[in-house]
């Protein structure tokens, strides 16, 4: 996979989360994503960005325009140095219970993307990679 363009942005405040949404929109529009696909990737980005802020203590997003052969896509890498996730399997399970539950929305975000990678361990921070292909 080759990277055609790469941008990094901080996620340190809720205004940054808004900026993340805008940046992902700009990226997906430039790749010519359909409206539904745009909505999906921006929503997924919003979920993960919020996690990075709320649970990761803040972090950053690297936004890459990638290409593999003739396919082009958007890759989002969210990273933080927070406490990390102890039980990855549990985190990926669905659970938007109003109130309780992890509510991390990782399972949902995963369904909205073509490729999804989660790396985390207690005390080692978390890195979430999302890819949506055109």
């Amino acid at each position: 996979m080759d990277v055609e363009k790469s941008d990094t942005m901080p996620i340190r405040s809720s205004e940054d989360v808004v900026r993340v949404r805008q940046a992902v929109r700009t990226g997906s529009v430039s790749l010519g994503f359909s409206l539904v696909d745009q909505t999906k990737i921006i929503t997924a980005a919003s979920e993960i960005a919020r996690n990075t802020l709320d649970y990761g203590g803040g972090g950053e997003l690297r936004l890459d325009l990638v290409r593999a052969g003739i396919r082009r896509g958007l890759r989002l890498v969210f990273s933080d140095d927070g406490p990390g996730i102890a039980d990855l399997a549990q985190a990926l399970k669905d659970g938007y219970t109003s109130g309780g539950g992890l509510g991390l929305g990782l399972g949902g975000a995963k369904r909205l993307c073509n490729e999804f990678d989660l790396r985390s361990a207690p005390g080692e921070g978390t890195t979430v990679t999302l890819i949506r292909w055109k």
């Binding site: 949404r21 929503t43 929305g105």
Partner: protein, 130 residues
């Protein structure tokens, strides 16, 4: 500091969300609405999200909270104008908006609120002719 305007129409409160809200703004809207519902003794709350292109779990929870809060205060909440792409994404996300009634647009939303308040039922059948 920007605020989302809340309009009063009869015994209903109308909110139209036009901006991509950051979290504090969303929380503020929740608080403002609660206060206004109490103050005006509103029976209905209508939230127009036709301009929202993204509804993530945070906004979803906000809508659920507003509905729950209104119910406690004996008011009904109707969310109108959800865009198809948003609906499709919410379904994929697995986020249900249970406890929130929805309608296609403002007109139908107001009609629904009327039915819910007046008839206590949302069935179409038995709609009162005005």
């Amino acid at each position: 500091m920007d605020q989302i305007p809340i309009l009063q129409v009869g015994d209903c409160l109308l909110v139209s969300i036009q901006v991509d809200m950051h979290d504090q703004l969303a929380m503020q809207l929740q608080d403002d609405l609660t206060t206004r519902v109490v103050k005006t003794r509103a029976r209905g709350v209508m939230i127009d999200i036709s301009a929202l292109e993204i509804v993530d779990s945070f906004i979803g929870r906000m809508l659920n909270n507003i509905a729950a809060m209104s119910r406690v205060l004996d008011a009904v909440t109707v969310v109108v104008g959800m865009q198809p792409a948003v609906a499709i994404t919410l379904v994929e996300l697995g986020l249900g908006l249970s406890g929130v009634k929805t309608a296609l647009n403002v007109d139908k939303g107001l009609a629904l609120i009327r039915r819910l308040i007046d008839d206590g039922t949302e069935d179409w059948v038995g709609r009162r002719e005005k």
